[in-house]
Symmetry: C2
Subunit: 155 residues, 2 copies
């Protein structure tokens, strides 16, 4: 299946799911999600403004993009990388299974990001170890920086 068809399929499913759950996936929100799905790298909000103008032949203010991102984040369709102020489509949108808390491996060289689900046991141990100190975790999103296998090889 081509990438475009795959993205179309994801978007159709998201449209369907939003309808089911009463979320209003407007045309523009859908377009922003589409842009994030098409990219291989995370984008800043202003990157999205640019991509939107190019690919949708229509301009959108940064303010609007931030609002659409807020919607997509709340819907769990998009993640924000707090360490780089960038946004990317959740790589599990299409899955049926329960979404886990995401962990991101961020390549500081080529800037590609892999969304991984670390071993649950390991995460639970990490969580337990932290909560033993009396601290309560609100999120287990981890952002880990380094080099992807490809960039590492080139060194």
């Amino acid at each position: 299946m081509t990438t475009i068809n795959k993205i179309e399929r994801i978007l159709k499913k998201v449209e369907h799911d939003c309808l089911q759950s009463g979320l209003r996936l407007t045309k523009k929100r859908r377009n922003v999600l589409q842009i994030l799905l098409q990219e291989q790298e995370p984008l800043s909000a202003y990157d999205i403004v640019e991509r939107y103008k190019i690919t949708m032949a229509e301009s959108l203010s940064a303010m609007s993009v931030y609002r659409m991102l807020d919607f997509l984040l709340a819907a769990g369709l998009v993640h924000k990388l707090e360490t780089t102020n960038q946004y990317l489509a959740c790589s599990h949108i299409i899955c049926e299974h329960q979404h886990q808390i995401p962990q991101f491996l961020i390549c500081d060289q080529c800037h590609k990001v892999e969304e991984v689900g670390l071993c649950k046991q390991l995460l639970d141990e990490l969580k337990a170890s932290i909560e033993n100190t009396g601290f309560s975790l609100l999120s287990q999103q981890l952002e880990l920086h380094g080099l992807c296998a490809h960039c590492k090889k080139q060194e």
Copy 2:
């Protein structure tokens, strides 16, 4: 020992260490470090500009503060929280033992931050689990958000 004396002692040690290793801890760099040591919370660069003006009766541009932070970061005296764009003094400056990669527990309510050293074994497992995927970690700094024991109790 009073807090002020404690901070003075730390600063003296840092001065001594920098002299030993040829790092130039100038008056202003020392002042910025002092401000971070005096705070119980992490500060943004612009917070430091303000604090500097008040406590040192002298103004410093944001540009200069960023440069001084760069120096202090490179010297391992200060950490940057990438998820909040804030800076804080390393809580182990005075220790003799090898500094570990820091992990931060950030209270999203009161904004206090605890620098913890998680169990080495756990971190090694985490690292191994990640590197199994072919990814090479460049930093193991973790920033974990939640509620500190105090704020949790108040809920």
